[in-house]
Amino acid sequence: MIFREVDDRDLVLRARKGGVDAYNALVSRWEKRLFNYLLRFTGNSEDALDLCQDAFLKAYQSLARLEDPARFGGWLFRIAHNEAISAIRRSKPEVSIEDQPPESGRRTAPGMAPVEVSLAVESALAKLSSDQREAVLLKVYQGFKFEEIAEILGCPPSTVKSRVYTGLELLKEMLSPAGAPRG
């Protein structure tokens, strides 16, 4: 992790001087993670790819404004988050971002195939509110700290923690195998 952050810093500094190759190295490093975050946030592969490209282009054009080059990842995710929120508002101005239609859920079971588990997880994630889902995605799948997520989402760490905890509690109820030990 430390080595990766140092590398990011070097690549950002080189990209700032016009090194397109250095920026492409940053893109290669982060594009899959960013795409998967956007895919799970928007639920649409084409939208996720477009948002991913827009986020990288915007980041490239604003690279000089990045205060700490070592924190390129969090800064990129913040740009992507803002782009995604704007896109959702543009596409569905009458629907609140909080109001995501729930899908039918299913519980995981010890004998379930990987595909079934994936479907159950996707279904359970879709039942969370947009804020909870995004906080869980950034925490569980991207491994950001609460403080980093707070910077990405532009809200206090306590709010992030609350969203993650509530989301996990709901996911636990939806995904825990029936008959699992309860406290």
Binding site: N36, C52, L57, S118, Y165, L168, K172, P177, A180, G183
Partner: protein, 205 residues
């Protein structure tokens, strides 16, 4: 039932400091309620993490095209050192302008009324000095002489004659003084005219 003071979500999400993490790890084997909560959360996270990462439909790559590069003003405004340099340059320019502008303004600001007032002040000063000088040189000695003669004669007729003589002398002196003052004033008027022409030339440059 789990112990509510134990934050198992923070434990599994690796948000606890090492000391607290170690305490919870030791507690896990002693409390069935906490072990059950830990187990359920752990299974939930395991299920979440089994969601596979999706490959991108297309890779993203940038080419060296000026279209995609930030514009010069965007780079400029985003660069603190450049902004600082620009600020210093503006400040230096403002100082130079400020240093030059007052001199121009002062030169251009000499108007006729101001010049007239200045000349009148000089005339007044010169007149006062000239009259004082004349009084010291002529009038005072005459008064002193008259007083001395009056004291010597002790006679009213002589005194009246002396006063009449003095009056005549003063009148002639006054004519002479007025002529002198007229010459002085004429000289000053000419100087004023020269100063006005000079000031107008400087203001026009």
């Amino acid at each position: 039932m789990q112990c509510h003071e134990n934050d198992w979500k923070a434990y599994l999400l690796e948000e606890l400091p090492p000391a607290e993490r170690s305490r919870l790890k030791n507690h896990l084997g002693e409390c069935a309620g906490c072990a059950a909560e830990y187990e359920r959360l752990s299974l939930t996270l395991t299920a979440l993490r089994r969601l596979p990462e999706v490959e991108m439909p297309r890779r993203i790559a940038f080419v060296s095209d000026p279209v995609f590069e930030p514009s010069w003003w965007r780079r400029f405004w985003s660069s603190a050192p450049r902004l600082a340099f620009a600020g210093m340059a503006m400040l230096a320019l403002a100082i130079v302008v400020h240093a030059y502008a007052p001199r121009q303004a002062a030169t251009q600001g000499v108007d006729e009324a101001k010049l007239q007032a200045m000349v009148e002040q000089q005339v007044q000063a010169r007149l006062t000095a000239a009259v004082d000088q004349r009084v010291r040189e002529t009038v005072l000695p005459l008064v002193q002489e008259t007083a001395r003669k009056a004291a010597e004669s002790q006679s009213g007729a002589v005194a009246a004659q002396l006063v009449a003589e003095l009056d005549q002398k003063l009148k002639s002196q006054r004519k002479s003084d007025l002529a002198t003052i007229g010459e002085e004033f004429d000289l000053i008027q000419r100087r004023m005219g020269m100063m006005y022409v000079t000031a107008s030339r400087q203001g026009g440059e």
